[in-house]
């Protein structure tokens, strides 16, 4: 009886807020322009930014980072860790419906997670759950436990990093085991897919957060050309664009029809060296390269100065910034190192940037000129992103240039790319001392203790230089003045459910 009264009260309050929401310009269609085409929308196959930012509005995770990067409850209302640290138990929110009307329960969580870590599926995000050995158990309809083989102290945060850990309804899978249109519990539903040229997100009317989303529809289309994308926004063709060409920041900020906002970004640009090839197997050569480049110039010319030069993976604005910078420009020392390694006459190397990531191609050209100073002749071999991924995976490169983004925890900066045998360790870097540190970092939850561990790991990594770190970009997004409520986030997440339009 009390329960009924309570739910009445709750409904009353909710309808009140809903009413307020309605007066706050509900409805409307947002026309959004992406910077790249999406690929498979299967969350366990997807790997690109373009795809994950669509899924962001369709799938939901147990935990969530709010706009200030604090970890908050989402599909799970609460969670706890076992004594031995191996088992995490999550208590799910009740009454959350998939967009097809079925209630989301612990079974769905188990199914999604089992599929994510299934080696047959081969998701590059399986590590977020601790890998294939992780055991997921349904305790009851609203309780699920995750038991990892070794302690993963950061599991709740790891679940919020991207939508690969989103809860997807098993009915999304087709006869052949593929997911082409994922069904989730998120604020929007994928209602139309027209190849990779147009995708429509429609309001999920049964969304558990009453009153949200404000928009009826989001129409997404990729405009890969920066100029065309910006002109489309300035000309009112679209209301919101994923990114701008950095060189046009000033021009766009001066335009009254455009709002541009920036935020420090949890990301960095780098190039990775192939440690299985000569001469990059010699740490002196790698260090020589690291101190032959002028990072401020690269930042200025690759990304027009909307960035901060870095010598390690973390920038000064992030919680995981370590003040360690041994690679200030020093051509004499670089030549010495090269001579010690037996390359006083230099050598030729190929840098592989990816087409469509203009800053990498620009950066490669600046690096080419800078490395020529110490006798290293750089050939630039820009390839399409698909081929880039393929060659990176096959170890078919001297150096690959790209950026890492959407990084939140320290583990995302160190463990993923540099731990021996990890999926994204393409350089072939392997240092037992480093491995031990990053393994330990996963088992500790006290921030200060972890900071000390990763500070040491950072020092080893920067000294060993499998990656040459260049700069950390700022996040830039732009929209028209009638778009309200969009927040530019350091993790680059595109969340449309708080967005509304006024006329």
């Amino acid at each position: 009886m009390r329960k009924i009264a309570l739910s009445f009260l709750l409904m009353f309050v909710l309808s009140l807020t809903a009413g307020m929401v309605a007066s706050q310009e509900s409805g409307g269609t947002l026309r959004a322009a992406w910077q790249a085409r999406w690929e498979s929308l299967d969350p366990h196959v997807a790997s690109s930014e373009a795809t994950f930012q669509i899924l962001n509005n369709v799938l939901e995770t147990l935990t969530f980072f709010d706009d200030d990067m604090n970890l908050i409850p989402w599909l799970a209302e609460d969670w706890e860790n076992s004594e031995d640290g191996l088992t995490w138990t999550f208590y799910l929110r009740e009454g959350v419906l998939f967009s097809n009307g079925r209630e989301l329960t612990a079974e769905d969580v188990k199914w999604s997670f089992d599929r994510l870590i299934d080696p047959e599926i081969g998701s590059g995000n399986a590590f977020r759950l601790g890998g294939a050995g992780t055991q997921i158990d349904v305790i009851d309809d609203y309780t699920v436990s995750i038991t990892t083989e070794s302690v993963v102290a950061t599991l709740p945060a790891s679940l919020a990093a991207n939508k690969s850990t989103g809860i997807v309804a098993p009915e999304s899978v087709d006869d052949e085991g593929f997911i082409s249109t994922p069904i989730g519990s998120g604020p929007f539903v994928i209602s139309e897919i027209d190849g990779t040229t147009r995708l429509v997100l429609s309001r999920n009317d049964g969304y558990w957060q009453e009153g949200l989303p404000y928009l009826d529809e989001v129409i997404i289309r990729p405009i890969t050309d920066d100029v065309a994308r910006e002109l489309a926004l300035q000309g009112g063709e679209v209301d919101w664009i994923f990114t701008i060409a950095p060189q046009n920041l000033d021009a766009l900020q001066a335009d009254d029809n455009v709002i541009v906002e920036t935020a420090p970004r949890l990301a960095y640009d780098y190039f990775g060296l192939n440690l299985n090839r000569e001469p990059f197997d010699d740490v002196r050569v790698r260090q020589a390269i690291a101190m032959s480049i002028d990072r401020q110039v690269i930042c200025d010319f690759a990304f027009f100065g909307i960035c901060e030069p870095v010598q390690g993976p973390t920038a000064s604005g992030t919680p995981w910034f370590f003040d360690y910078a041994p690679y200030d420009l020093d051509l004499d020392r670089a030549r010495e190192l090269l001579a010690e390694a037996g390359y006083e006459d230099g050598f030729t190397m190929e840098i592989m940037p990816a087409v469509g990531f203009d800053e990498t191609i620009r950066g490669a050209q600046v690096v080419q000129q800078q490395l020529a100073e110490v006798g290293i002749e750089v050939v630039i071999g820009a390839v399409e992103f698909g081929e880039w991924l393929e060659r990176q995976g096959a170890g078919d490169f001297d150096a690959f240039m790209l950026s890492w983004l959407g990084l939140t925890d320290a583990e995302d900066y160190f463990f993923l790319q540099h731990r021996t045998g990890q999926t994204f360790n393409f350089t072939g870097y392997s240092n037992p001392e480093f491995d031990e540190l990053v393994d330990r970092g996963r088992e500790v939850s006290d921030f200060d203790e972890r900071f000390a561990i990763y500070e040491e790991a950072n020092r080893i990594l920067v000294d060993d230089a499998p990656y040459i770190f260049m700069y950390a970009k700022s996040e830039v997004k732009a929209w028209s003045p009638n778009v309200q409520g969009f927040v530019v986030r350091p993790d680059s997440a595109v969340n449309f459910w708080t967005v509304s339009l006024d006329n």
Binding site: S40, G195, T197, A228, E384, Q392, T423
Partner: protein, 314 residues
């Protein structure tokens, strides 16, 4: 005689289309590496790749694959995109109107430029107008279409702000909006094919005007205007129709490029996307449809040619 000619043309078109099916079918076969692996990405396991190969039918003998592809084609089924797994036919059907509308508008612009200019030049060879016209036409032939498109956007969109630089509104939704989006791309393509057409119109007219019956008509004392309009024009039309027809293949090629410059979601953009994404099945489908389109246009021109001049024999 007439039926024979028509049948001959129909048969020829059919033959070309069959040839086109073979050439486009071979696109997927000639691809280096394994299309199944391309579609699944680096992290795919061998088992997964194998099952995708199975699904795409890549395990079966070449001729069997071709036969299946042809059979599906007759049902309007172009298969599935390697990258997204979406069916290809609806994607192409959605984009076809954009390409056709742009091609139609462009050839209209081209004809509107070329006819008056070509006629005037031909009636007054060597005059100032003739020299200017031929100069403009030479520039039009030499100017890269994508560059022209960029310059027009710089002028009319970025600087003057008169027209939108890119995008598309369906004609059924808002005619004015549709037109404002189509003007620049249609002008770009149209001016270039107009430049080429002008030359042909001029020489066709010159040739006809040199013929006996025109001299006769003149000798009979008919007014020059009558001579040109009633006799020369009608006869020159035949040549011009052929030239417009020949120009259509080039024009469709130009439309492909211009769509990309203006971010128009037509077949051209689809082709480039497919090339860049290495989506070979999608490329196959799009290239096939464009080639069929060109073949149909050529067939139409052949038949039109016959209607204009029934004396033709083959």
């Amino acid at each position: 005689m007439s039926t024979r000619y028509i049948l001959q043309r129909l048969f020829f078109a059919l033959f070309v289309i069959v040839g086109v099916t073979f050439v486009t079918f071979m696109i997927v076969q000639l691809v280096p590496g394994d299309p199944a692996r391309v579609s699944l990405g680096v992290q795919a396991t061998d088992e997964l790749v194998e099952s995708r190969r199975e699904r795409l039918g890549l395990n079966r003998p070449l001729m069997e694959q071709y036969a299946t592809w042809l059979y599906n084609l007759t049902r309007g089924d172009l298969g599935y995109s390697l990258i997204t797994g979406q069916p290809i036919t609806p994607q192409i059907v959605n984009r076809l109107p954009v390409t056709l509308q742009l091609a139609g508008l462009a050839i209209t612009v081209g004809v509107l430029i070329a006819f008056p200019l070509g006629f005037i030049s031909a009636t007054r060879p060597g005059s100032v107008i003739d020299v200017i016209a031929s100069f403009i036409s030479q520039i039009g032939i030499a100017v890269p279409d994508f560059w022209m498109g960029i310059l027009l956007v710089l002028l009319f969109s970025t600087t003057l702000g008169w027209l939108p630089p890119s995008g598309y509104t369906p004609i059924t939704e808002d005619f004015g909006d549709w037109l404002s989006h189509m003007i620049l791309p249609a002008l770009t393509t149209g001016m270039i094919s107009g430049a080429i057409l002008t030359r042909f119109v001029r020489s066709a007219m010159l040739e006809v005007m040199g013929q006996n019956y025109i001299q006769t008509a003149r000798a009979k004392g008919l007014r020059e205007r009558t001579v040109i309009l009633r006799h020369a024009l009608r006869n020159a039309l035949i040549t011009i129709v052929t030239v417009v027809g020949l120009q259509m293949t080039a024009l469709i090629g130009s439309v492909v490029v211009i769509e990309i410059v203006f971010s128009l979601q037509g077949l051209g953009n689809l082709v480039l996307d497919a090339v860049l994404d290495r989506d070979y099945t999608l490329l196959q489908g799009a290239v096939f449809v464009v080639a069929v389109l060109v073949t149909f246009i050529n067939l139409t021109i052949d038949l039109l040619y016959y209607l204009l001049d029934p004396r033709i024999e083959y």
